[in-house]
Symmetry: C2
Subunit: 404 residues, 2 copies
């Protein structure tokens, strides 16, 4: 039996199928988004700004863009980057097919960058097309990739009603004020305060007017957009409880966490493909039963006539992992089970070629020429290995022959 833990597309949607694929939210006003991505990532301790750090060969910002592009009622997305990353960001847009995204050059500070992003909707900037001014604009950090449609919908509708809205979370740590000598001045009562997170949304005119009135001090030291809307437009933002996944990738450990979340999302479902003959189907069904305890598993049988059915499953985008069952019968006692060096080399080459497309291939050999009891045990063990390979997505083991 051979199996491939593969992605259906050259660049899989790393954030996994949306939980809300079923829902279809509609809005009767126009919405666009601005994503400031000019940060240098000094807290990450890496040379690469965190928004460009790669998860499975894909920059973090591309995951965030994908999360926005899944939301059909967000018509335009503007990413604001520093001058030196402008070309690179455009290449990311091209490589990962972010068709609704426009790249804009930012300023020296976060607020200047957001303002530059907003200007893309009202002025004809060099290097970019003129975009239609939306009624509501969502502002979100490039380094918060796990944003879902629900919270985007809630901030957008609240902004339309109240002029401004933002996601908040309970404080994890107590907040303290220090005196100039470095001693505790006072602790804030945790219950009365919240962490202000992203996304935030504003009616376009409110946030644009606020930025127009900003002082140089605001641009340099200003805390956040909600505060500017309050200070310059008298708009008190509606605050909405957001989900925990909104957190900002700030430190290296956050990148580890993001990677694990992506892996988890990718390993929620798999598709077993088998020939229509009795033995492969039997093995496939057995494997499906075991794997189903860990993830959603569908079984697709192929024959010459059903091949298109199979191709359909692969290109549906519903699965990121495929298990292809191929039964070899033999009676040899040696482990190799008739696999000669050449066969092994072919699989390795196949895996090497596929890797460029973010597809990982492994060979799992299950000893099936034995009693049903033993076969079931082997399949169980095989299922555990399959689950691990799907979860770990380790490119180094691609092409390996694994034996249970």
């Amino acid at each position: 039996m051979a199996w491939a833990g593969s992605d259906s597309q050259p660049h899989c949607k790393l954030s996994g199928p949306s939980e809300q694929a079923g829902k279809s939210l509609e809005l009767d006003f126009s919405v666009a988004a601005v994503l400031p991505a000019g940060g240098s990532g000094e807290r990450m301790g890496t040379a690469i700004p965190k928004q460009f750090c790669r998860l499975f060969q894909r920059p973090l910002i591309s995951l965030t863009l994908e999360a926005f592009e899944r939301v059909h009622w967000i018509k335009e997305i503007v990413v604001v980057v520093s001058q030196q990353n402008f070309e690179f960001m455009n290449s990311v847009i091209g490589q990962f097919g972010h068709s609704r995204t426009t790249v804009v050059v930012g300023g020296l500070t976060r607020h200047q960058s957001i303002f530059n992003g907003l200007k893309a909707f009202v002025e004809n900037q060099p290097h970019q097309s003129w975009l239609m001014k939306p009624e509501v604009v969502i502002i979100h950090d490039a380094v918060r990739p796990f944003v879902e449609e629900d919270i985007l919908y809630r901030v957008a509708t609240a902004a339309k009603e109240h002029g401004a809205a933002g996601a908040i979370r309970p404080l994890v740590s107590t907040v303290v004020a220090t005196n100039p000598e470095g001693y505790l001045d006072h602790s804030l009562e945790r219950a009365k305060y919240r962490a202000s997170e992203m996304p935030q949304a504003f009616t376009f005119d409110v946030i644009y007017k606020a930025y127009e009135q900003c002082t140089d001090y605001d641009f340099e030291h200003g805390t956040e957009c909600l505060h500017l809307a309050l200070q310059y437009c008298g708009v008190s933002a509606k605050l909405l409880d957001g989900p925990p996944d909104l957190w900002k990738v700030t430190y290296k450990r956050d990148l580890y966490a993001a990677e694990s979340i992506v892996k988890e999302n990718l390993s929620k479902s798999a598709c077993i493909i088998t020939a229509a003959q009795e033995e492969p189907v039997q093995l496939g069904t057995l494997l499906q039963e075991v794997l189903q305890r860990m993830m959603k598993v569908d079984l697709v049988k192929y024959s010459s006539s059903k091949e298109s059915h199979c191709i359909q499953a692969i290109s549906s985008g519903l699965y990121y992992n495929f298990i292809y069952i191929n039964v070899h019968l033999n009676n040899t006692e040696a482990l190799s089970c008739g696999i000669q060096k050449d066969d092994f080399a072919i699989t390795k080459q196949l895996a090497k070629d596929a890797f460029g497309k973010n597809i990982l291939i492994y060979n799992l050999l299950i000893n099936y020429t034995q009693s049903m009891d033993k076969a079931q045990e082997s399949v169980k063990e095989g299922a555990l290995i399959i689950e691990t390979l799907i979860k770990q997505r380790s490119p180094v083991l691609t092409g390996q022959l694994l034996v249970v």
Copy 2:
């Protein structure tokens, strides 16, 4: 060649060799620690309280205890757990050899639990021995496992001098005050505030006196110890900048991050063990050269006379990963290289037995009966697999035969 990515001891020190192993800090006053661990972990979304969630078969709290036990000047450690976890916590103490730790039953709230922990130093509580009252007590969360000696030393000495001290970190998010209707009241200027983290330290009498004066309201809603020391003893804590690794494991993503940090710590060094003959040494040296680009690698040669040298390396606790080189020469063309089913089964059984001791074993077969150029390429590929196996520590693949 066979290799084992193994731990030297039944239960490896998951936090890795201390970065500060070289330093030997001394204090001229006595220090103990209290670790409240009574939380229910509701934010984690798991049934198990987060302090008992397992990383590599070991509860998180055991990692935190180990971090404290590495610091020789902390003489006693008191862990405070709920009544229902008392037995379990004691079994963890026994299983992982936490010899300087005493378990105490806590109260209904965090503050009551800390107070109970402090009482262990002044009263003869049921179920525990009377502990010597220290001059300074460090209070730390069970769910902040990556605490280093440096910050413990700094809070302890600052507490001795000022009566109280605590670690702080810059705020990641802006903090906002909400009005009762859920709108923004005001944003705090981020630069003026800090997140109050752990560890904190107090002269014992200051914190004990503060708790003695606490009201029921304080016990139930009180924000944190620093505040109580200020309110009831007029002691304004010295605040010290802490490292980013002090963060609190709060959400599931934090557990992912902790796991990745432990994996990274464990994969910083390895030890290659080879026979003293020409070929294994040659292969071992080649492998060392390649692996050294990714981690610190030492080479130990064994012969009958040097066996003790080898055992010394294994039991030193300096390495968590061993690569054992075993050269088989053969000329067969089949992949199995003469490994028959029985041999494979023996390795699998060996791996199964070792797994209970948190030791992972893999077989990596490098084709070495070829030109030097090709051998080097094979070793390079093998080194990548070794690195991955060391980093991923996947128990499911233990016992596998891998071929390059």
